[in-house]
Amino acid sequence: MSLMHDIAFTLNGVKRGATVRVDMSALDMLREVVGLTGTKYGCGEGECGACTIQVDGLSINSCLMFAVDCHGREVVTIEGLADDPASGRAAALRDAFVEHGAVQCGFCTPGMMMQASHLLDKHPHADEAGIKRGIEGNICRCTGYKKIVDAIVDVSKQERGA
């Protein structure tokens, strides 16, 4: 019987609690305890970025984070990014991904969009090379990188009014 622990944190802007196994990943908590399945399990060892979420404003691999460590922190998943109309960021990314055909099977897309959003927050003036560097921890096995990079470049330009 695994040890359980109660945590309280902010998920997509809403305070909530959860009871989690102490050795459970944040990814398993999101998918199995909370029931938000937008965040994907890809490799389970931090290589592919499909599970990217933001914690206290930084992108991280949720498969490498212990769920108990979410206690007291602000967690944003792809569902939260989609729900934030104030920034318009999610809508801009979604539209650009559609327009550039940056979604093929779609499995990497939530992680790509979470990482792209963090990248644009931290480096608003990132050029194509900077964007490629920024998403190097995200793997697209359809190898649609060119379209993904083009889509993020597009959003970067829109946000800078270029």
């Binding site: 050795d23 990943s25 991280i60 984070m65 212990f66 921890g137």
Partner: protein, 288 residues
Amino acid sequence: MTDIQKYFAPTSLDQALDCLRDGDVTILAGGTDLMPQSQAGKLRFKRTLMNIRRVPELIGVARQGGDICIGALTTVTELMDNALVQRHLPVLVDACDHFASDQIRNSATLGGNICNASPAGDTLIPLLVLDARVELASKNKGRLNWRSLPLAEFFTGPGKTRRAPNELLVGVRIPLPEPGGVAYFHKFGTRPALDISTISIGIAGTLRRGALFNVRVAFGAVAPTVVRAPRTEQALEGQRLDPHSIAQVAEVARDEVTPIDDLRASAWYRKELIHNMTKRMLDHVAHA
């Protein structure tokens, strides 16, 4: 499966050291090594899982006299973005820039990279050539004990260190480089991101009239731990960097390392890499 019987997230060093007294504790910081190792069954949890991420004494980068002190919880991203590190220890920023991916850099801590004691740990090579010391704290009969030792003496094998089970790595202390000090890092992998080094090299010293003095050389992924290379250091010490001396030093470096064959490279290839990359780095120093 887990044998964890207690989870504890201390909010002070004192609490953390009290918890560590019985020694049967797995320490969690960023989790980027602990999670995959535990899930793959390579690591068995101890009785207590202690999450040290909320211990303030382990946070921050500060200058103390002639040293830069870096808290164990400093993430790789925080190291890269820190003004003191950028100004005084650019070789460490360079190594961090080759570290995994943005997501992992945002979680992984310097203390974790040190205590994980990988022979290929990216931050360990610059720390070795910067003469870093590790600072360890423990508590015994209510008394706080501090111990400091050179990083070069800290590693005893893959994943193994001289940290006692009741000790906590509080941080590292790095002397400010002397005027004229130079330090270089090179990591060779098959792709830029998320790669474990095939080999890595650090070279530091004081550059005067085309020669390096007080030379420090370190190699990664060529031995059970990261290593300093005393014979290469000796061969390089005070030598005017010309094509002849550089070729000689590169040969000493190749002969000094004792790598193994594994899935990333053969021992032979690693020795060739050490030779060729050492030569390339010294050519670069000579022309800098």
